[in-house]
Amino acid sequence: GAGVSQSPSNKVTEKGKDVELRCDPISGHTALYWYRQSLGQGLEFLIYFQGNSAPDKSGLPSDRFSAERTGGSVSTLTIQRTQQEDSAVYLCASSLDGFTGPSSGNTIYFGEGSWLTVV
């Protein structure tokens, strides 16, 4: 597709259930990012994939959160045993390459996000 595609657009789930959020990055982009945005707040970094390198998971808030990226393309963010505080927009983004210093500055392209509501 022309842009970053995320699904589902909206998800309402019961507390304690597991959810999977999918991200399909722009074709050819090697870097993929997940961010979380609570209502009216800034973006919170979750995880970053770059090529075949080990992902940077430093932003994952707890061990209930995990993400994988299969074949260097599609990524799935999984939240186990959801809690009400997990309610947020989960934004995926991709860029042509990762950030490699002062000469880089790749633009990252965002999907429209997945609204998650835990009731």
Binding site: L43, F45, G105, F110
Partner: protein
């Protein structure tokens, strides 16, 4: 936390006026970018300024960067109602990830 902070948190102006938003960050950067977000959905890249640049223009946008003060400003001149959105700065550090600020909600009244 490396997250930047922006001020003001919210800004309301009339069409035709200029809007200035500020961003401060904590650690040295490779570059700083500004993004726009409509209605809580995906962000759109506006402009990038590198750490060795002090000012950059793009249409009605003017960005400045002061690395000694670890701050940047975004100026939107001759604002329009369509400029109503949230604006975020994002800093690239040597940690290979983009850190976003807390955002400024801009409301431009016709």
């Amino acid at each position: 936390s490396q997250q930047g902070e922006e001020d003001p948190q919210a800004l309301s102006i009339q069409e035709g006026e200029n809007a200035t938003m500020n961003c401060s960050y904590k650690t040295s950067i490779n570059n700083l970018q500004w993004y726009r977000q409509n209605s809580g959905r995906g962000l759109v890249h506006l402009i990038l300024i590198r750490s060795n640049e002090r000012e950059k223009h793009s249409g009605r946008l003017r960005v400045t960067l002061d690395t000694s003060k670890k701050s940047s400003s975004l100026l939107i001149t001759a604002s329009r109602a369509a400029d109503t959105a949230s604006y975020f700065c994002a800093t690239e550090h040597n940690t290979d990830k983009l850190i976003f600020g807390t955002g400024t909600r801009l409301q431009v009244f016709p």
